[in-house]
């Protein structure tokens, strides 16, 4: 469930992050340490989210098809394949595996 209030809350926070620079330009700088912490926090979240959403469904294992598709996509991304290729490969491999009976 995703109520409208949650969407608006995320929208307001996000707009605030975007507005800070144009509004405070010349008066404030972002401390380098904070910038790094934010960058690393985002990376940690992205990887954790990739891992959990690839491997788990609910509280259990998601089955083999999805992580296999994500793995192929990850290899392609690491080899700097174009973004659309990465996304289509993930869906394609997973769909084909399921077609072949692998859940």
């Amino acid at each position: 469930m995703m109520p409208m209030t949650a969407i608006v809350a995320l929208a307001v926070l996000t707009y605030g992050f975007r507005l800070a620079g144009p509004l405070l330009r010349g008066r404030v700088t972002v401390p380098v340490a904070a910038e790094r912490l934010f960058a690393d926090a985002a990376t940690v979240l992205l990887i954790a989210l990739a891992a959990t959403s690839a491997l788990t469904a609910g509280h259990g294992f998601a089955g083999w098809a999805r992580p296999a598709g994500v793995l192929v996509a990850g290899v392609l991304a690491a080899r700097r394949a174009p973004f659309p290729v990465v996304v289509v490969a993930a869906a394609g491999v997973t769909a084909l595996l399921r077609l072949a009976g692998v859940s």
Partner: protein, 283 residues
Amino acid sequence: MRILWRTASPALLRDVGLVCLADGIVAVSFGATCVGGGLAWWVPVALSVLVFAGGSQIAAVGVVLAGGSPVAAVLAGAVLNTRLVPYGFAVADVVGPAGPADTGGSAVAIVRRWLARMLGPHVITDESVAFTLRQDSPERRRSAFWACGVSLFVFWNVAVLLGVVLGSAMRNTNAFGLDATFPAVMLALALPTLTSRPTRIAAGTGAVIAVALTPVLPAGLPLLAALGGLATRWNGWRDRDGWHPRGPWGDRGRSGGGPAGPQPARDDGDAADPKELSAGGKR
């Protein structure tokens, strides 16, 4: 707006078009996965119009679809979007109206200036910032920012809508492997940022924490617990080498300085830190 398209070079417009296409595929998949997962059609649409930040939209919906609370979803999305703060500083000169700030003019001109000032920040994205920073003249920076920002906003939202329609028609989006696109997008976004060893260790630790806790904690919490992986990085922010700003989608670019690039050597001895910025900074 017409001026903008005239000053934008054909090469720039072509590159912007390619990025729009790439993001469009993600957006279609986002819309389809949302309705496929049982969310109302307006959820992906409202997120795309109001939040307009792909990674955080996918993260927030990912948390919710896994059964997490809306609060956890908002938190996850917001943490991902903190990177927009340095972006905003990087492109502050081209966001907002052209020309001197208060040159009177007709009521129409004033309204347009305010519109630009309010809408400009909303189209700050990985992509528009990357395009902007690659230009050499102020005029080109401005047209690159607006051309990419506005095109992407239109493409992204139309594509999400298309995804919603397709997803509603498909019934079972899992048969098409669409559930694999979310983690794939997250991975593709994160890989270019795993440039230093401490960051890799923090991310790896976070992933292990999150996966290990998923069976036992309510959905959404394992993801936030993953931030504990940052503890491994405790001493790491000081070494300046090996850290690179996040690359944009599509061009993995570390060339030409990433979006966070134009904040080089500075002495922020007397800089006033806004509260939320200094929260993580340690002296």
